[in-house]
């Protein structure tokens, strides 16, 4: 029984972090129909920024989200204007190619700047745990989870309680309709992309504390994040959160009760099952290809 509860706790803690990591990806898809393959690379870039801040001024890596989030937000905005904007209206496959190219360029740049070696950020608490009876809660995971929850909660409030959020949702739901009622869909898209990349910035700081990373690590992340978004429903923020928690628990349970050899197959199994059983994901809606947005 302890084993089961422990597995659930570990799964939930890591799932919460996955949720934040996937939130930007699903947001960008929801508004722009852009499948952002570079999302993993944005995460790793933020992790490297966190590493540099930590080594330079010894700021707690989780506190460095106050730097990484705005920096990545600005980076996302510039990147949108320079590249992504130009493929608006093109088929979704163009976005895959473009963002994959961005990921490769970023990987090369990160290797050039930080070197192609493994980096770790180790605050004092990185290998400590809270213990409750026989259970343990790794401190880094707990803090990471809490931070992810705060950022995700803020994102959710922005989306549901502000004019900007309504404009984003309107643009996602029906771009032509949104434009008709005065929403500047183009500006909203830029903002959404920047918010998505900013969320990856916050997520990257958490990843830096939890796992060692190198420039090539982004491939591992993008596969997992895409499966979360597919499971939750492309474009749905609550869907991504639920999908992330399910995936986190499924991975932990697979490691504990089946074999760690199968854990990395879990995201792919999830994609297969979702595509076969419920192609729109848990909380997604079917895309109308017949009246596709321009």
């Amino acid at each position: 029984m302890t084993q089961l509860v422990q597995t659930l706790i570990l799964g939930l803690l890591v799932g919460g972090v996955y949720a934040l990591l996937a939130s930007g990806l699903t947001l960008i898809f929801g508004v722009m129909r852009v499948i952002n393959i570079a999302h993993g690379a944005f995460l790793i870039l933020a992790a490297f920024l966190t590493y540099s801040i930590w080594t330079a001024i010894e700021l707690d890596p989780l506190a460095s989200v106050v730097f990484t989030t705005p920096v990545m937000f600005a980076f996302g905005w510039i990147l949108y204007l320079a590249t992504v904007r130009r493929i608006r209206g093109a088929h979704m496959s163009s976005s895959v190619l473009l963002t994959f190219a961005i990921a490769l360029v970023l990987e090369g740049v990160m290797g050039f700047v930080w070197g192609n070696t493994s980096h770790s950020v180790r605050p004092d608490y990185f290998n400590e745990s809270y213990t409750i009876g026989d259970l343990f809660l790794p401190k880094a995971q707990v803090y990471g989870f809490a931070l992810a929850a705060i950022v995700l909660g803020s994102l959710y409030l922005i989306l549901t309680r502000t004019w900007l959020g309504r404009a984003i949702r309107a643009s996602a739901f029906n771009p032509q309709g949104a434009a008709l009622v005065g929403v500047n869909v183009s500006a909203v898209s830029a903002l959404t992309f920047a918010i998505g990349v900013g969320a990856a910035g916050a997520g990257g700081s958490i990843v830096a504390v939890l796992y060692p990373f190198l420039p090539g690590s982004h491939y591992q992340w993008i596969a997992r994040l895409l499966s979360i978004v597919v499971l939750g429903g492309l474009g749905s923020l609550p869907g991504a959160a639920i999908g992330a928690l399910i995936l986190g628990i499924a991975e932990a349970a697979t490691v504990t009760y089946i074999s760690p050899a199968w854990a990395t197959a879990v995201p792919y199994v999830v994609i297969f099952v979702v595509l076969l059983v419920r192609p729109q994901g848990l909380m997604g809606t079917r895309l109308r290809e017949d009246v596709a947005a321009a």
């Binding site: 084993q3 422990q6 597995t7 570990l10 799964g11 890591v14 590249t83 130009r86 493929i87 093109a90 163009s94 190619l97 473009l98 190219a101 961005i102 490769l104 360029v105 990987e107 090369g108 740049v109 290797g111 050039f112 070197g115 192609n116 070696t117 493994s118 770790s120 180790r122 990185f126 290998n127 400590e128 745990s129 213990t131 343990f136 790794p138 880094a140 995971q141 939890l210 796992y211 060692p212 190198l214 420039p215 090539g216 690590s217 491939y219 591992q220 992340w221 596969a223 991975e251 932990a252 490691v255 504990t256 074999s259 760690p260 050899a261 854990a263 990395t264």
Partner: protein, 411 residues
């Protein structure tokens, strides 16, 4: 739409350029030494991707060897020029790299790449082209049971025997001290798996029961659940069959779940010196055992000079083991070329035959080979003590008299 296509095309070009430029791409260099046309020696190394850590070290080792050979007048009186490609830790890329080195760059000689995973396919390319292939890493026994005539491993033993000395030490501990149960979390990798299985065979023989043996894949990032599963089995001893990245991950996870086995042996990662200590925290290294091929303090022929030259060229106090292995591979190649006085392609099988019949003095100690190219020696056993990597076994090679009995993390 046309614009979009151009944009995408432009980006792909940028990406390819970025992936191929800087110090990650092809590197060709020669230094002053002997006269005449330089001898081109080709290798592909994992300079990017998950094996980039050892790949970079191996490149440095080759470069030190090149510099020292050229300083001493070259190989057969000619300069040595290295042609090094980046295989991005990818099995397909390493194959095309070695094909390109042989038929495109027309190199005279080859040196191996890093890790069994990449040497398995790369050595097949060399064999097909009847080129001598001395590899600095790649101890998987399967490399040597394919009937190849050209592959030679420039370390002391194959992976399945890497932990023999340590496993025998544990097996021979007095009854009361000897652990009773063992766990073997292992990366699915052609180097780590046979190493871990080799140790398990000896420990099982000594009555140490296996309570956990699981394999995880190379793209595993989250080790907490694995560490938790190991903890739940309460093993006295843990043999972590790891490369570098996952090795750091699993050690950190064991600390997080607050599990300290009485004994801990880990493959590969602990031999990375400061990088290992940085990754898991120096205080958590105390008592970790590992097998290692090279000791910086060893009085083997040429070792002090190699260490000095490495420090001169690349700085830092510690010399990575993989740099030393790469250097030793260069020494082995040099020995057979100088003995046979040829680098002709038609003579490469002759170079291989010479290695089968002779012993070569290297900075790792004397190396000699079986018919199949696998080495005949024994590894050194290292242990982290007070934040420093020491050699503890065998006694004649030890850099300290003390062996810390067990794993004692936390400073």
């Amino acid at each position: 739409m046309l614009r979009v296509r151009w944009l995408v095309a432009a980006f792909m070009v940028i990406a390819l350029v970025a992936a191929g430029c800087g110090d990650d791409g092809e590197d060709s260099a020669s230094q002053d030494g002997g006269g005449g046309e330089p001898i081109k020696i080709g290798a592909s190394l994992p300079l990017t991707g998950e094996f980039s850590e050892p790949g970079k070290a191996a490149k440095e080792g080759y470069e030190v060897w090149q510099a020292m050979v050229n300083d001493a007048g070259g190989l057969l009186g000619r300069d040595v020029e290295l042609v090094i490609k980046d295989d991005a830790s990818n099995q397909n890329t390493v194959v095309s790299d070695y094909n390109a080195l042989i038929s495109g760059d027309k190199v005279d000689l080859l040196l191996g790449t890093f890790s069994s995973l990449l040497n398995l396919p790369a050595s097949a390319v060399a064999e097909r082209n009847k080129m001598l292939y001395v590899e600095p890493a790649g101890g998987n026994p399967d490399i040597f049971n394919r009937g190849f005539k050209t592959v030679f491993f420039a370390q002391q033993a194959t992976a399945d025997h890497q932990g023999d000395v340590w496993a025998n030490y544990i097996a021979e501990l007095p009854e009361g001290q000897r652990p009773k149960t063992a766990a073997y979390p292992t990366l699915d990798d052609p180097f780590t798996t046979p190493t871990s299985e080799g140790i398990e065979a000896i420990l099982k023989e000594a009555g140490i029961e296996t309570v956990y043996r699981e394999t995880y894949t190379a793209d595993t990032t989250n080790f907490d659940s694995i560490a938790n599963a190991v903890k739940s089995k309460k093993p006295d001893l843990v043999v972590a069959g790891t490369q570098f990245e996952d090795g750091i991950g699993i050690m950190r996870a064991l600390r997080k779940v607050d599990f300290t086995p009485e004994w801990l042996y880990q493959t590969n990662a602990p031999s990375f010196g400061d990088q290992y200590a940085d990754g898991i925290g120096a205080e958590n290294t105390e008592g970790v055992f590992y097998a290692v091929s090279h000791s910086q303090e060893a009085e083997t022929p040429g070792n002090p000079e190699f260490v000095a030259k490495y420090q001169e060229m690349f700085g830092g106090e510690t010399v990575p083991e993989d740099a030393a292995d790469a250097y030793a591979a260069g020494e082995v190649l040099q020995a057979t070329v100088e003995a046979n006085k040829t680098i002709e392609r038609a003579d490469q099988l002759k170079l291989a035959d010479w290695l089968r019949q002779n012993e070569v003095e290297t900075i790792l100690g004397p190396l000699s080979w079986n018919e199949n190219g696998s080495p005949k020696g024994e590894f050194l056993i290292g242990q982290w003590q007070s934040g420093k990597a020491e050699i503890v076994l065998p006694e004649e090679a030890a850099t300290t008299d003390a062996i810390i009995e067990g794993y004692k993390p936390g400073g």
